[in-house]
Amino acid sequence: MVVKLTNAQIAWRAAQDLPDGAYVNLGIGFPEMIATFKPEGREVTYHTENGILDFGEAPPAGEEDWDLINAGKKAVTLNPGASFFHHADSFAMVRGGHLDVAVLGAYEVAQTGDLANWSTGPGSVPAVGGAMDLVHGARQVWVVTDHVTKKGEPKLLEACRLPLTGVGCVTTVYTSLAVIDIVDRRFVVREKLPSMSLEDLQAVTGALLAVGAAVGDLIVPEL
């Protein structure tokens, strides 16, 4: 049986691809873990929708300033060179193509790059936040996600079934089993767990997997 990656390991793997000097927005929750695993020596500047550029780690417990929070409403700190700005300027950064990478979670991703991550359908309270802006602004849009749902159903599909967050926006998916780029409306496997065959991966994926050059081994540390 394949031992799939933990969320921390998925976050670690995505973090390895952060370009030096990049401006990055990490979505609320799971994607936020990526900051923890930024490789040494690489400089990354984090943006949060609520109006801070270049924020740092969480403060020690008890030292929070609740006017200094990120989009997930968690307390943060500032790095030297940080700045504050209002929401329109913040989303000018997003929509205007000034971010290098945005990372989000997903309910479903389609081979076309469509993303569904905001609504599980009627009956609940819908909430979209900044996701619909982020997916159309950043130069690269990454998704971090388990490869399948809790019920074992594929999350990577030919077409999304749930309400869309954005059309043709996702560039790379980091899953618990593989790293998959979306190229010309196809899932192209860049890396997969070495313990798994391509056929195994295909079996838990809802769309045809393509292979670019060689498929690398997805190897991550114990975390």
């Binding site: 006017d67 929401h87 913040s90 309270v125 819908p126 979209v128 900044g130 802006d133 954005g166």
Partner: protein, 238 residues
């Protein structure tokens, strides 16, 4: 042109049933708690102002601030991007019971629509929400081969915002990420009402450091040591 009001009640005068009210803040940062609760108190005492449309990024948390407005029954509609919080019961219950309407707007579109309202731009195009349910019924257009959704400006009768410094001419600064939507709302409301932690003499705020120029502000009331919504909630406020 002294915009300083002696009391919160003076500052809030003229807010009537059915008005649209922009309220600054993202989560607890920037929520003008004292202004909101004075309005809730007025509603409880007089039954007015009710049937309000409230515009904020969120839809209340716990039982303070906008959640207190919802519990009091004075909100008919929320316009927001993310009506969830650590404790969204006030809104969720009212929404699922059909007692409150929701206009869900992507966060960046919400910010830009408010700015457009303040800047006299009746409509603009954005890629955000193209091809999604949120864009249903909205005009779309293609520019340079890419598809965009047309969005309309958003204005309001009143804005309630929280500032750090204010002077009698209406110039404002904000505290850290409590800035968020407040400078935009100040532009987009017919009447902008500000609670400031400190009122200073004109000229005290460096002209280079003014975030909201006074032209966008109508009334100011000093509220020293204001409550911080998130801190209140963590202290267990009900």
């Amino acid at each position: 042109m002294n915009k300083i009001c002696p009391t919160i009640e003076d500052a809030l005068a003229g807010i009537e049933d059915g008005m649209s009210v922009m309220i600054g803040g993202f989560g607890g940062a920037g929520a003008p708690i004292e202004l909101i609760h004075a309005l809730v108190d007025r509603y409880k005492a007089t039954g007015s102002p009710g049937r309000l449309t409230v515009i904020n990024n969120n839809a209340g948390n716990g039982a303070v601030g906008i959640a207190a407005m919802i519990y009091a029954g004075m909100v008919a509609k929320m316009v927001c991007s993310f009506p969830r919080s650590s404790d969204p019961k006030a809104f969720t219950d009212a929404y699922l019971a059909g007692k409150i309407a929701l206009e869900l707007v992507p966060q960046g579109t919400l910010a830009e629509r408010i700015r457009a309202g303040g800047a006299g731009i009746p409509a603009f195009y954005t890629p955000s929400s193209f091809g999604t349910q949120v864009a249903e019924g909205k005009p779309v257009a293609e520019f340079d081969g890419r598809s965009y959704v047309q969005e309309r400006w958003l204005k309001a009768d009143v804005a309630l915002i929280k500032a750090e410094l204010a002077d009698a001419k209406g110039n404002l600064t904000f505290r850290k990420a409590a800035r968020n939507f407040s400078p935009l709302m100040a532009m987009a409301a017919a009447t902008t009402i500000v609670q400031a932690s400190r009122v200073v003499e004109p000229g005290t705020i460096d002209p280079e450091h003014v975030v909201t120029p006074g032209i966008f502000v109508d009334r100011i009331v000093e509220v020293p040591n204001p409550a911080q919504e998130e801190a209140l909630l963590r202290e267990g406020a009900k």
